[in-house]
Structures are given as C-alpha cells and as structure tokens.
Subunit: 347 residues, 2 copies
Amino acid sequence: MPQDKQTNRRIVLASRPHGAPDASNFRLESGHVPTPAAGQLLLRTVYLSLDPYMRGRMSDAPSYVPPVAVNEVMGAGTVAIVEQSQHPDYQPGDWVVSQNGWQDFALSDGRGLFKLSGPVLKHPSWALGVLGMTGFTAYMGLLDIGQPQAGETVVVGAATGAVGSIVGQIAKIKGCHVVGIAGGEEKCRYAEEVLGFDTCLNHHEEGLAERLSRYCPDGIDVYFESTGGKIFDAVLPLMNSKGRIPVCGLIADYNSTAPASGPNKLPLLQSAILRKRLRVQGFIISLDYADRFAEFFNKMSQWVAGDRLVFREDVVDGLDNAPETFIGMLEGKNFGKVIVRVAGDKP
Amino acid sequence: MPQDKQTNRRIVLASRPHGAPDASNFRLESGHVPTPAAGQLLLRTVYLSLDPYMRGRMSDAPSYVPPVAVNEVMGAGTVAIVEQSQHPDYQPGDWVVSQNGWQDFALSDGRGLFKLSGPVLKHPSWALGVLGMTGFTAYMGLLDIGQPQAGETVVVGAATGAVGSIVGQIAKIKGCHVVGIAGGEEKCRYAEEVLGFDTCLNHHEEGLAERLSRYCPDGIDVYFESTGGKIFDAVLPLMNSKGRIPVCGLIADYNSTAPASGPNKLPLLQSAILRKRLRVQGFIISLDYADRFAEFFNKMSQWVAGDRLVFREDVVDGLDNAPETFIGMLEGKNFGKVIVRVAGDKP
C-alpha cells in the first residue's frame, strides 16, 4: 500500500512488549490527512529513521523521555517535505528533518525543524544518519567523552551500525588504531575493507576475549559502548589506565525481561573503574549536546564532501514494513543505518 | 617495645592474605639503623598512616602500583623527623612527610619529601589526614570529579572515615544537602552533630534503601564512592540525571576471594549510566592530581584555620599494634583517620 495524499497511515503501539517485540505490538491504522491552521505546516514523510533507542520508549520503565502511550503513533525522526504551509518561514517543497513518527503526515508549528539545503539534498536520508542524530551521537561521544589521541586504541562495538561505523572512521581520521566488533564475516570484511578499520572481529565466533586481546596488543584506551553484554565483558579486562568508555546504547540488554543470572559482575566493573581510573559516562545526544549541532554538522559535512567518510544505509521500502524491520534490527539483521523509505524521494 | 635509636623495627609482609588479612600475614623484625651516605637523610618515623588501599598492595593482583613483595616492609605514608642529614636542604629536627613504611627508620635522598612548617606543626599527624593524602583525595574527588553545585544532594559512604568526613564537610561549605552513611549509631550522631551533615544513616540497620530514599527527596546528584557493596546498591536507583560518581575506594570488596554471587547487577549499572547519563570515574590521587597538591594544601589549610572543618583521628600507640589496627580498620572498627603513633611526638 503506497503513500497517497488523501490518507494518513500510522503505525501505533498496540501493546507493550515483554522481551523482544513482535508484530502484535504494532498496528497499522488509516486516518484523514490533517489540515494546517495558521502558523502550522503539513509535513509529508519521505524517510523514517529506525533506531535501537525506540525499544526503550515502547516500555513504561522510567527513562529520560516519556514512553510512547499505547494506541499512540510510534515516535521517530523523519525527513519530510512541506506539503502545505501557513508558516512564514516555510514553502511547499522545502525539505526538513522533523519528528513525524511512523506515519505519512504530521502537523508542525516549526519548532524543532531543521531545514535541509545544499549538498545534503543529494542524499536527504543522510540527515537521519551520518549528518543527523546517529552521526552526531558518534561525533560527540567519541570526541567529547572518548577524547581519542593519535596512536591510542579505540574499540567499537556494532562496528558497521549507524553509529559505530562513524565512530571508527572518525577515530581513524584522528590517527587511532581501530578495532571493530560485528556480527558476521561479511560485516567484518566491510569494516576492514571499506570503512578502513585496522581489524574487525566477528562476535559470532568463539574466543572473542582472546582474539580481542591479540588485536589490541597495547590495550584499549577508548571503548565506544553501544552494545553491552558479552562484548563489554571481553573489553573490560583490556582497558588501559585512564581509559574512557562513552555509553550511548546497550542493545544486548534492551529485550531482557529478568535480572541477569550470576555471577554478579558489578564488583568487577567497580574495581576496574577504581584501579584503572576509568571514566564511564552515559550520554543522550539530544539532551546533552543540542547546542553543538552546528559544529558537528559543519565538520561532518566537510568530511563527507572530502570522501573521508563512508556511510552505508539499509533502506527498506514501505511504511508497513517498519515493524518487521525494527524487530530485525534489534537482532542485528540490518547492515548499516536502517531507513524506511515511506514515499518516493521526489517531491 | 618502644622506639629506640639503636634498633630499626620493621613490619614486613610475611605472606599474602586470602580474603581478610590476619596476624599471620605480618611479621615484626628488628635490624640495625642504617647510616646515610652523601646526599641522604636518616628519617625517624613518628606517625604512620594506615589506609584501606594498603589491602590491595598485599595482593599480587594487577594494580596501579606494584604489590609489596613478601618479606618486604609494608609501605605507608609517614610523618618523620630528620635524625641525621647529609643533604643540603634538610637539618636534623626538620619534620617531613615521607614514605617510610611500617618501620622506625628509613633513608631518603630527599625525593618525594614534603617539609612541614607553620601551623600544621601544631598537629603534625594531620599532614597524613586532612592536610595530606586523605584530605587531598576528598578535595579533588569531590570538587574536580563530583563538581557539586549549591542545593544539590551529595551522599557520602563511610561518612566518618578519613576521606568521607572531609567530603561531607566540603560539600556543606559548597551549600549542598549532605547525607552520610556510616556503621553504627555513634558514628551517625557524630556525623550529624559534629561534622554538620544534614543526615547520617546507619547501614547496620535494616531498610537502608528505603531510608536513603526518604532522606534524599530530590534524588542524589553526587555519590562519593569509597565503599561499594550494599551501599552502592541503595544509591544507584536514586541517582539523578547527569549525576557524578567519583570512585576512590571499594572497601566492601577488598577482602573478597571469589566472584560475587548473582544476580548479575552489571547490566543494571550500565543501564543507569546510559539512561541517567551518569559519569562514573575512578581516580588515584597520587597519580591523577600530583600537580594540584599546593592548591589543595593552601585551601584546606584556610578552612582548617578558620574552623570550617573538623577532623577526627583514631590514634593507636606503638608500631607493633599496626597489624591488628589495620585488620580492624578493614572491618570498620576505627572511628576517624587511623594513625599509629610510632614514637612520642617530641623530637
């Protein structure tokens, strides 16, 4: 069912998942396209970003943002076209980054919109990836918290993911030894041959801790944490004194439903933090760094324009495929930044 | 057996402890007093500092400093008098802070010595406490990593200990709401009535988590970690967004011999770091802040001179009592900074 201009398709949260989400947690609905009032815009979704953090918003556990309410549209960053405008700053046909969520149309009063112009319009969906939230997460987490120095060793989990792939490439630009970890041979080959990582280790194979130790002969100075679980267990013993661990995600734990079984590894982490004088710091890009978006966007645009960075998208067509794509992403089935193309990319 | 000037009594590490140390891990020996060569000093120990970190140095697990070798003198910070000098910068009778270890006499070439003069000579042993390593740890950990702001809530484990008592008082000077945790009613009363903490909770009583929640109605912004264990478990759920956790010690875990039993609380900590954007940072005062000692010493001396700070010592007489005192300190039997008076404090 393609997008048309008379119908607003919306995917709502039908029920809260217990553990891994499945198709029954989502419901596709149809409604009327809303009409903008004075000061408002009507936005039509072209690209929809799917990201692991959305799993957290499907639960009602306490978190940094309120959860999505049951029967409400799933939230998401989107690239959209202005379809109608009653707002002086926008014209029909303008491209914007917005928060339409998993639906075809949304109204906006202009707050929080980011108008796209210039080279990014060659790949508008990149404004959700390398030039958007995930690139921004990689840039600030690595540079502001990780503070990598030339010659240091940087380890990146989810090495070919939307964030990890950028983290590793920025670390290479900064002169670091970069070791990635990814799920599968093909992803590892891509990280080494295309992204330029020094090494990428397949965590589906046995002996991750031993292999990681071999490929980090000088220990690890920065570990960019987006996975948690067994990768963290392998990394921790190799961290060097004064090491830094920016924490931007924990995809391995998002679907867990019960306390993890023992032994209790908390004292091990505490002891490592103390003995090695580690800095472990969580961040939420939209809350912690909103005032540095322009700095990021300019610098990253230069790197992209100068072919210093490669960016891979995993594009799926059709809004109705969003739930299945999202479920697969949490299992690591995607290869690159997950984007749903909701409509053709011509205005 | 008191100190005399013909004999050097030394307490050596007889064997490495498995779990909590006992008397058999230490051995008292006697030897000759060494003679300084050109450029050297002979130092006589007057005060000996006992600190929890020494437990780590009795083990040969990897750590930030090499362990004490078996049959070698236990290391320690000391306040000493220059007994003989072949060094142009020192005269007999000078007071210094040195690293003599658990013995009566030691040679020095002057490196790493800190000469005492002025008001600190009224309480020379304070150069091992409020004006020495433990005060420095409190000062830098709280102010540089914790960065407390007026009106924020600061929680201090081991509230009446050498470090915690100073942390809480500095936090009060900075205008914070300060909640301490200590083992026993008497310590708690002291923290509230003498140190000026807003509240101090006895962790020997039941329901610590519930009581802590009640006395931190606005959550916790800074937790100064020196204990680990059940206190950390009670603190973590109450941490506010952007909270800071300086980690200077983990006394609850120092004697553990096996992995802690489950459930595995590591994912809980990781999740809290991410969701609450916490900064958890370990530090070793001598390695991380050596260049800021003068700043600390001047500021802390002002506070002490202005009666802004109270400092309590738990002084034990006699070098031969050091092992038993150290063992008791790891069990929380001390009340204040533990000092062994090795000799009378008159030159």
